[in-house]
């Protein structure tokens, strides 16, 4: 089976400083990969570069997504191609309701495919279903995007958006940071419910706990901008008991 995502010798950084020093990673459809690493390892850089964040620069290497050159695509094009990034720090957009935001995103996607805008009744149903999925009450739809959200609400909100946009590759950037047990369960349930043979995910995290609930197929350890180890959950166990220093390249 062809890889869904293929990262080859990726060097990237920000403000003239290289942070990723040659990343190699391949993900097949249906696979869930975990990327673990200490602070400063380059985890956020990896997710930013995959999503196309403008202030990051790729100095060399390639990324292919579904056979296409991902690095040549604008952020919105990557989104239409099926990439979703669950942000570590979801930003507030005052005055814009979740409803209007999602409607804009859903319709942008449809427009890119040459489809008509979604019918109001269909959209309302979609919203209702997905809100129930992340256990959000009806009034969530009227709230302004991320404004006044608690940490848990922000992360659940990201999973809600993920469910609404139905991506092929979800990148969860430290979705577990600052979450309590219940919120973590909602996030894990959300991610698991969206799994399928065609869909993949990259779970970026410090901690093993979320991985226990999601059960990734592959675990990578990222240290100082390089992947130093690739294996299964045994790597996550080792990190939990002995720390990142116990993993060597």
């Amino acid at each position: 089976m062809n890889d869904l995502l293929e990262i080859r010798d990726l060097h990237a950084g920000i403000e003239g400083k290289e942070i990723l020093h040659g990343i190699n990673l391949s993900i097949k459809p249906g696979e869930v990969h975990a990327v673990m690493g200490p602070n400063g390892a380059g985890k956020s850089t990896l997710s930013a570069v995959l999503a196309g964040r403008p202030d990051y620069t790729v100095t060399s290497g390639s990324v292919t997504f579904g056979g296409r050159d991902l690095l040549a695509m604008k952020p919105e094009e990557r989104s239409w191609a099926g990439i979703f990034l669950s942000f570590q720090y979801p930003i507030e957009i005052p005055g814009v309701s979740i409803t209007n935001f999602m409607k804009a995103a859903v319709n942008a996607r449809r427009k890119a495919k040459g489809e008509l805008e979604i019918a109001p009744a269909q959209f309302l149903k979609l919203m209702k279903d997905k809100m129930a999925f992340v256990k959000m009450k009806g009034e969530f739809a009227k709230r302004e995007v991320n404004v006044g959200f608690s940490g848990g609400e922000k992360k659940r909100g990201e999973i809600f958006q993920m469910a609404m946009l139905d991506p092929v590759l979800s990148i969860l950037d430290e979705t577990d940071s600052g979450l309590d047990v219940d919120a973590l369960k909602v996030v894990a349930d959300g991610v698991n419910a969206l799994r399928s043979p065609e869909k993949s995910a990259i779970i970026i995290t410090h901690y093993k706990h979320l991985l226990d609930l999601i059960a990734p197929d592959v675990v990578h350890v990222l240290k100082d901008g390089k992947i130093v180890a690739t294996g299964g959950m045994e790597l996550a166990d080792m990190i939990e008991t002995q720390g990142f220093d116990s993993i060597h390249g």
Binding site: P75, G95, V96, A104, A108
Partner: protein, 484 residues
């Protein structure tokens, strides 16, 4: 990303779909301004002697004044007042004086303005009474009979002079005297048409009233005069819209709006200003120099101003309220968007005279392109304004680094029991917000529209429903080309 967002590619023209010209026979007075022209205008309208005297008196005052230059408006041109035609009206078919010329009907249809009742009654458009003004005359006022049944007078100003001269004479220039300022004096001398509205005691106006102003002929100016009187205990919601053809020359719009609010009455005044703003190189566009003022005369009276300004090459206006009656209150909510080379110097004046009066100001300025957008305001607590309160929030949003956003409030407090609070912030659309939107598949242009709409929401949500939708669309259309 700030560097990538180059504000204007010269090739990008903002879409102004209302920029067409109507081909219709019109009559004009000769170009220029002198007492003869004024007499001619007055005669064309069949005005009584007292009104002609009012005009001439205002004209003489105007001749002794000089155009003001204190606005933060570097692109305000020298206006040659002799090079303007002060009266232009569509020719009336003498045989069918009551019918609306098909060309005019077509014009307003194109603009989406229901100038005949049948469209509304057929359920096609929502129930709003419309006074449509085309250049210097009112073309039609809908639902007058329905409103008259409740004692409400809603008609063109000219009509009001003919049918209700006492009312007009009683209130005209009581809020904005002819000598108030240069452009008010000019308007008082040459005003063409506008709307007149009187709501009797205790009556709640059953439908929204609106005026729509359309400039058509070139070389002309539009000088509308609107007078709204809400008698004790009455209430009305009034909306104002406007558009003009695209031309390379500036055209002058110098209007005067006076509002009188008596005891316990309530007036909600909304404006969606969409005058032709000039092209992307700053050529042409309407000069919108307007005096709007309300007098909250009675106790407990209430006046709210809501404005969305997206057009005009130059906007210079301060809808203001004089809070005379004890316990009266007023709000000013404004969104002013400038792009390309537009310039706006707008804001409000809240003058607190009575006790326990309240005012609230929310101003959201959005600057893009090479434009300049200034908020200018005055909050004055007079010595007798015991227990008065004011709160102002003036925010500016900058899109790109070639525009300017300014705030010039003046606060004067002369009463030790009054409280005034003012805050202003300047910000821009953050890269984080833009990236969050684009990662969700929303294009950068749509993202800017969405974020700006959210920024302006506090103001937009106060507009009557249809206006709010139109205003949101206007903001998006006018933002096109402002990034990327």
């Amino acid at each position: 990303m700030a560097e990538e967002k180059d504000i204007l590619s010269a090739a990008v023209e903002k879409q102004y779909s209302e920029g067409f010209v109507t081909d219709i026979e019109q009559e004009f007075v000769p170009k220029g301004l002198n007492e003869d022209i004024i007499r001619m205008i007055s005669a064309k309208k069949g005005e009584p002697g007292w009104l002609l005297d009012f005009r001439l008196d205002a004209f003489r005052k105007w001749q002794r004044m000089t155009p003001p230059k204190w606005g933060h408006l570097s692109r305000l041109p020298e206006i040659n007042f002799q090079d303007i035609i002060y009266y232009a009206a569509p020719m009336r078919d003498e045989n069918r004086p009551k019918e609306i010329d098909p060309a005019l009907q077509e014009t307003f249809d194109k603009l989406g303005i229901p100038i005949s009742e049948r469209e509304v009654l057929a359920g096609v458009k929502s129930k709003v009474a419309v006074d449509a003004v085309f250049d210097s005359v009112s073309v039609n006022t809908t639902f007058r009979k329905t409103l008259a049944e409740k004692g409400i007078i809603f008609c063109s100003f000219s009509e009001a002079v003919r049918e209700h001269p006492d009312l007009v004479q009683k209130y005209l220039a009581t809020v904005v005297p002819a000598g108030d300022n240069f452009y008010a004096a000019l308007n008082s001398a040459v005003f063409s048409d506008g709307s007149f509205c009187y709501i009797p005691k205790g009556v709640r106006c059953p439908m929204d009233l609106s005026s729509y102003f359309r400039i058509n002929a070139s070389g002309t100016g539009q000088f509308e005069r609107t007078l709204i009187i809400a008698d004790e205990g009455s209430s009305v919601s009034y909306m104002e819209g406007c558009t003009a053809p695209m031309r390379d020359e500036n055209q002058l719009h110098a209007a005067v709006v006076e509002i009188i609010v008596e005891k316990d009455a309530d007036v909600r005044y909304s404006t969606v200003q969409n005058w032709y703003p000039g092209d992307s190189r700053g050529r042409g566009g309407i000069l919108n120099l307007v005096t709007k003022r309300g007098l909250c005369r009675g106790e407990g009276s209430h006046l709210s101003w809501t404005q969305v300004e997206t057009g005009s090459a130059i906007t210079w206006k301060y809808p203001s309220t004089i809070l005379m009656g004890d316990n009266s209150c007023s709000e000013f909510y404004s969104v002013a968007l400038t792009g390309n080379y537009q310039q706006a110097d707008t804001g409000t004046k809240m003058i607190h005279i009575g006790r326990n009066t309240r005012s609230r100001i929310v101003s959201k300025g959005i600057s893009a392109g090479y434009s300049e957008n200034s908020y200018r305001g005055m909050v004055r607590m007079n010595p007798g304004a015991y227990g008065a309160r004011n709160h102002s929030q003036c925010d500016s949003l900058l899109i790109g680094s070639r525009c300017g956003a300014h705030t010039f409030p003046v606060i004067r407090n002369s009463n030790p029991t009054a409280i005034v609070e003012h805050e202003a912030t300047t910000s821009r659309i953050s890269d984080e917000q833009l990236f969050y939107c684009t990662q969700r598949g929303i294009s950068p242009e749509d993202a800017v529209g969405l974020i700006v709409g959210g920024y302006a929401r506090e103001v937009l949500s106060r507009l009557p429903m249809e206006f709010a939708v139109e205003a949101q669309k206007l903001l998006s259309v006018n933002l096109e080309g402002s990034i990327g």
